[in-house]
């Protein structure tokens, strides 16, 4: 962490300077006995061009962390440094893709993707050209005039991704973007993401609860604990690139999945026990 403060004075660069630094971030909801510590002293960083995944069971504080990094929750302690600035409010270098479906149902694909450019007053011809480029990039060429309601869930999520990429954010931040999709679609979309990420050398932070997705896509995986959400371990994924979804059948892939699952299992079962306890508490008849 201290190397960030010194970065400007150090001229001999060994590792590239991190683009995003998460330093002892802490967030509690509520006060008193009902308070929930959603994120507890989480620290890690993301270097330029790197693909990092944060994995953890449901309810461990991933979305909270996503909202903090994205600047939507600025009431936290610790520091999130994006290219050296402390994040308090949405940072222009960060582009967010949300877990829930977030296309505008009243705009067609083209106008959805061109939306951020329209806000910035980019001229019509240029904005349509750039929107077309990113629509092609996510593989939706030919669907420009379709409304979101005419598309599948996977296609709509790709529209959201294109709409975020069109601003050319330095850091792409995604919260479980494929959570609502079936496994096959997820694998294929993963290929698309890998390819885009490699083409654009896009620094990416993916929040997920899906183990295969994390291993398939990442350079590094940050494993979180359940309640309070802490960093349990960071795992480097040394699978060869370029990588496709075929990698899921390799022995090395299986080894990583098994290794991370060993860590995650304990957390996930704690989360499950918690959820069951809550259900029992809420429904005394059950």
């Amino acid at each position: 962490m201290s190397n960030v403060a010194n970065a400007s004075t150090v001229t001999t660069v060994a590792a590239p300077k991190p683009q995003l630094v998460i330093d002892k971030v802490f967030k509690r909801f509520g006060d008193g006995p009902g308070a929930v510590v959603a994120v507890d002293q989480v620290s890690f960083d993301v270097r330029p061009g790197e693909f990092v995944a944060v994995i953890g069971p449901s309810g461990c504080g991933k979305s909270t962390l996503f909202n903090i990094i994205g600047g939507l929750l600025d009431d936290y302690s610790g520091d999130v440094l994006c290219e050296g600035d402390r994040v308090a409010g949405p940072h222009p270098a960060i582009g967010m893709v949300f877990q829930e479906e977030s296309t505008f149902p009243w705009r067609n694909v083209l106008d959805n993707v061109a939306f951020p450019l329209e806000l910035r007053g980019v001229g019509k011809a240029e904005r349509l050209e750039r929107a077309h480029h990113f629509i092609d990039l996510v593989g939706l060429g030919g669907f420009e005039k379709r409304m979101p309601s005419e598309l599948s869930g996977g296609m709509r999520q790709r529209v959201s991704i294109a709409r975020t990429l069109v601003s050319q954010p330095h850091i792409l931040l995604m919260d479980e973007p494929f959570a609502a999709l079936d496994e096959q679609t997820r694998l294929l979309l993963g290929d698309k993401i890998t390819q885009i990420q490699q083409d654009l050398k896009q620094t990416t932070l993916l929040i997920t609860h899906n183990l295969t997705e994390a291993v398939q896509l990442s350079d590094r995986i940050v494993v979180m604990t359940y309640r309070p959400g802490r960093v349990k371990r960071t795992v480097s994924i040394d699978l060869p690139r370029p990588r496709t979804s075929d990698v899921v059948s390799s022995a090395a892939f299986g080894k990583y999945v098994a290794e991370i699952w060993a860590d995650l299992r304990e957390e996930a079962s704690r989360g499950m026990a918690d959820a069951e306890g809550r259900t029992r508490g809420a429904a005394p008849r059950g």
Binding site: G89, P90, F104, S149
Partner: protein, 257 residues
């Protein structure tokens, strides 16, 4: 062959059954009247009513009356939108205002406003203005409530998209909140125009002024029973066409949502 016929069956059958029931009910009424089971001095023969329809349309200046009613409906409807949508938006924007006023607006929707007509007669005289002002007030409640509901129903994730793009308040309003609320605003428009039509005809009847409502009043005062019922049927017919048109317009204005 049976398969090819089925779309016709599924579309045609309900219409046919509907028409048959209407004809059946009136046929039965006609029979009961002719048999003397129901008193002819209270309920006219449906066949007489049907025959009077032409007389009403030709002799009673129905087209001019319709124009007058239509004018009042359109003016009231437009004012309802012009006043109701901004109030609905304001109630969304300022929560304390919403908490303070929402119940009153709902109460306004339930209140039998027509009873206040003498007050409006005093203020605006026996004129179109009275009809329009009262109808605007009648149509306002659903317009306001549906508009607020539309804004409230904006999905939080879309607002978060706006925040992440650092949109200004006015961009947020015009580019996210308003388009998101639009479907329910249209529903509000349909409901309030429906209220407005009922109100306009009702008040015309009540204060004996101008359009289709007055025609019913006139005929009733002349003890022209078949004529009165024929006029009522005519108003119902016009209303049905009006409601169907509004509904079509609503779906047409928001394709593929």
């Amino acid at each position: 062959m049976a398969r090819a016929a089925s779309p016709l069956m599924t579309r045609g059958l309900p219409i046919a059954v509907g028409a048959a029931s209407v004809i059946g009910v009136f046929g039965l009424l006609e029979a009961l009247l002719r048999l003397g089971v129901v008193n002819r001095y209270i309920v006219p023969l449906p066949s007489d009513v049907l025959l009077s329809l032409e007389r009403i349309i030709v002799e009673e200046n129905v087209l001019a009356r319709m124009r007058e009613t239509a004018y009042e409906v359109v003016m009231s409807g437009l004012f309802t939108i012009l006043v109701g949508v901004p109030i609905g938006a304001a109630l969304y924007r300022w929560r304390p205002l919403r908490r303070a006023l929402e119940d009153w607006v709902a109460a306004l929707a339930a209140a039998p406003l027509v009873l206040a007509f003498p007050l409006f007669l005093v203020m605006f005289g026996r004129s179109s203005t009275t009809v329009i002002v009262m109808s605007v007030i009648t149509g306002l409640a659903p317009m306001i409530l549906k508009t607020t509901e539309g804004f409230v129903a904006t999905r939080p994730v879309l607002i978060n998209v706006g925040k992440s793009l650092k949109m200004t308040d006015s961009q947020m309003f015009w580019k996210i909140l308003f388009p998101s609320a639009l479907p329910l605003i249209f529903t509000g428009i349909r409901l309030s125009w429906t209220f407005v039509l009922i109100s306009v005809v009702g008040i015309e009847f009540l204060i004996n002024l101008g359009g289709l409502g007055q025609l019913i009043n006139d005929l009733a005062e002349r003890y022209d029973l078949p004529g009165t019922y024929a006029a009522i049927c005519f108003v119902i017919l016009v209303s049905v066409v009006f409601f169907v048109a509004l509904e079509r317009l609503e779906t047409w204005l928001q394709p593929s949502r």
